[in-house]
Symmetry: C2
Subunit: 558 residues, 2 copies
Amino acid sequence: MTIESTMQHGQLGVAAILRMALRHGTGSDVISQRKGRRSRTRLKSCAERALRLGAALMAQGLRPGDVVATFCNAETEHFEAYLGVPARGMVLHPLNLRMHDSDLADCLRVTGDRVLILSREHLARFASLAPHLAETALELIVITGEGPLPACAVPVARYETLLSTAPAELPGDLPDVAETAAAAICHTGGTTGKPKAVVYSHRSIWLQALSLTAANSVGLSRRDTLLAAVPLFHVNGWGLPFAAVMAGANLILPGAVFRPDVLNAFMDDCDVTVAAGVPTIWTDLMELRKTAGAPRFRTLARLATGGAVVPRALSNAMAEQGVEIIQAWGMTETSSMSVLGRIEPDATPGLGAPVPVGYPMPGIEMRVVDPDGAPLPHDGAAAGELQVRGACVARCYLGAEAPASFDGGWFRTGDIGRIDAQGRILLTDRLKDAIKSGGEWIAAPVLEDALRSLPGISDAAVIAMEDARFQERPLAVLVCADGRLPDIDDLRLRLKSLVPSWWVPDAWSLSATLPRTGLGKPDKAALRAQYAAGALALVRTGAPQHPTNDTPHSEKMK
Amino acid sequence: MTIESTMQHGQLGVAAILRMALRHGTGSDVISQRKGRRSRTRLKSCAERALRLGAALMAQGLRPGDVVATFCNAETEHFEAYLGVPARGMVLHPLNLRMHDSDLADCLRVTGDRVLILSREHLARFASLAPHLAETALELIVITGEGPLPACAVPVARYETLLSTAPAELPGDLPDVAETAAAAICHTGGTTGKPKAVVYSHRSIWLQALSLTAANSVGLSRRDTLLAAVPLFHVNGWGLPFAAVMAGANLILPGAVFRPDVLNAFMDDCDVTVAAGVPTIWTDLMELRKTAGAPRFRTLARLATGGAVVPRALSNAMAEQGVEIIQAWGMTETSSMSVLGRIEPDATPGLGAPVPVGYPMPGIEMRVVDPDGAPLPHDGAAAGELQVRGACVARCYLGAEAPASFDGGWFRTGDIGRIDAQGRILLTDRLKDAIKSGGEWIAAPVLEDALRSLPGISDAAVIAMEDARFQERPLAVLVCADGRLPDIDDLRLRLKSLVPSWWVPDAWSLSATLPRTGLGKPDKAALRAQYAAGALALVRTGAPQHPTNDTPHSEKMK
């Protein structure tokens, strides 16, 4: 005989999350800001508006599976679209505000988006995109806020007008959407060419949201007020809007700009207990507070940060205030935060040590493989490419079933790391951002962090130069406070106290500013191109004593 | 065009949980106790033994879908079976140690169990079950520990011997089992007659485990040591063994007896941070500590308790020590803990007030309906039957696709309550006529039937009396043929041959006739009022040995 499970068949997904918002939504608020004016709305009201948005779009003729793009800030209407669009089976497509017009038009065309929801604050930006719209399937552009509507080849409508067209009778017990169905589309950063699309399922969004409430991860709960200083187009706002509803937490969407003074005002006014965003944002915020006499945070307990190595100065400043730093690693392909760890004071690396990122979230499995793809032991010593799998991980990109980034069920992260016997992930470097010197890896981000900690250096990027002897050697591009390179001998001496001596760059270049990618990261590709074109003025100091020429380990990672 | 999700298809389930134990298991321990001797094992070692157990059972000819029963304490081998049996697609069937032999044999027969894993400590108990085994499909009985094997019609083997038959080559990357497949079978308490079987799926177990790590629920994490003072046959040990692995927490399985001195020793020796079990257990433990001068808990931070209303004395005593009480509501049909709330000091309700249980776990949805099944508003005022649905909720019992307990996708809990505008659940009353004694059900109708079968008794009604220690204890109101109570000692002796000894009432009252409702049923409300008014003349005999705290399970059903 075969024993069948007697459990229910309900589907995980955004409809269930919206039902939670409708049922529990009088217990929490959504707080946002537009042009300096703050708004505070009951989650339940947002949820009811989300329900109306979904119904209004259906009334416009949209059907489950149809794609609705957004071109919006971190604001209430965007959050309503997050819930209301997928809950009715349509697919949310938050566009990256920092993309080029032609890339944006490509994005709209590839997925056949029928409706675009546009923040009124981006009307000017939209004007340059308008000529490209003829190539798309857009039928309607919905513009938030009050004011005149622009002339456009595609019909335009106000967001509130659209909402008013929703049928009076809304679905009381919102039905589930199949959990494997598409719910949202996000694009990878595109540092290596065209952005690639990842299509999240209802299941992956629901599981990611629940995972973010786990005590081992961000631990979002009903007792929290979350400041999500994350663009909502960036990996679904790191999944935080869905997680906030799941947790019953208050959610702050800071609007168009993540300026330190704006974020700081939220901290003080709204009893923020958890904040999330890239390290730079919090470094700036701590600078601002230092200027103001470094008042203690009244309520901030946790800071979830990722996307870059956490500078030691930041982790120490937060530790002094009793704020726990949750360091996260993740990618668009892994539904954002996938590996999380607590940083202890003074434990931030910078001394050539790998970054102790932390443990995989529940449902995330990781392995480390050698260059031939053979799994390496989880002994904390064997370094190789990190690969990841799980219900919140992509199996392919849109339109490409089995590309090179996916290895038999495992996603190839392109990151180098180790896994220790407790399953802890130690990140060493990006494969493509690592410098291969004499068969050993130099971790550019760690070296950059060390450089930034030195007096007179305000920013730094390290790229590889070809080297006859060592294959590659580091070149440091520095932004200096007084516009001049510091004494290089002094610099090298100080650096040797922070990183292995053979990591000390062989060449140095001064730059007024660093080129940046769309996501605000140093644009290494641009720097490499400048170097190749001979456009960088270099001070060459030559290679230091190199330890690895005669070590067998160097053969492992050619 | 239809946009397909690009996410992976991995299955949630026990295989994934076992993989976590294998990957992260050097970071936590499983602690147990047998005959006063404590053992501490790395989770990774348990996981490897679980893998061997699964492989050895397969080598014995078992196949995915085959059922493996356990008749075990809360001990390490039981935990290994929890992981190892379902991880290979077989179905775990933890038998209720408190059931009658004939019911146990029924349970084994209905699901065609092929193997039984038996705690050596229950060999005596097993002897009485042995004559029933011919009716079952059992092929092998596996006995834990060292010592002689009993003679038996069914082949017997030692647990360690079985493990040694596992192939040397174990599956390195344990494959998933379909998440909708059966993983474990548990039986309801059987308040209304025969126990009913709920078959948990891999999916429901995985989701329940993750939910228990959510900050809004028990918030289990890598920083916790969990004392699970819960029989493992009781709703899969409330799901705690799986949740502990998911969280990377240390897990204490206290063995055969949940005596206060045993549990208290764990508290003090093992740095327990979270404890779980019915309130009676913790009331006794606090009494014990009070006697010892009420030393403060060094590490205990949270107490998860359910199965009965938390007495005010307990919640206040815990609050004084800074321990947070998490009050949980749940049933076998809802994968145990489904609604959780924090109790504030002095907030435990008095008699007749609704119990503010808390909020549904993520993925659990609740509604309240009137007697015709029409949904009532969630206004904190409208009281009706609570109904529940979600991925961790049963849709039927084994062998009965659509019984009366299930209402169009909603499970009818049989509890009366209200839901407020924030979605908080307030329990009011039990629909079912049951007495909750020390966190265990006594089925009043079954007890009444037994009483009526005794010589000299023409009618009987059983109601609950409040009890300082067990919350409720039964009081029997008897109508006797000759107008006099029979000899109570004789009555108690006869009753013990019909029902578990701890069901035997503590107090007895003679009545000329029973008050009746309009439908002709005994009017329990009227009897309760008479009792409350002191209008019933009582013969008190006191509580018998009770199973949940001071006796080995093996003696409970005598």
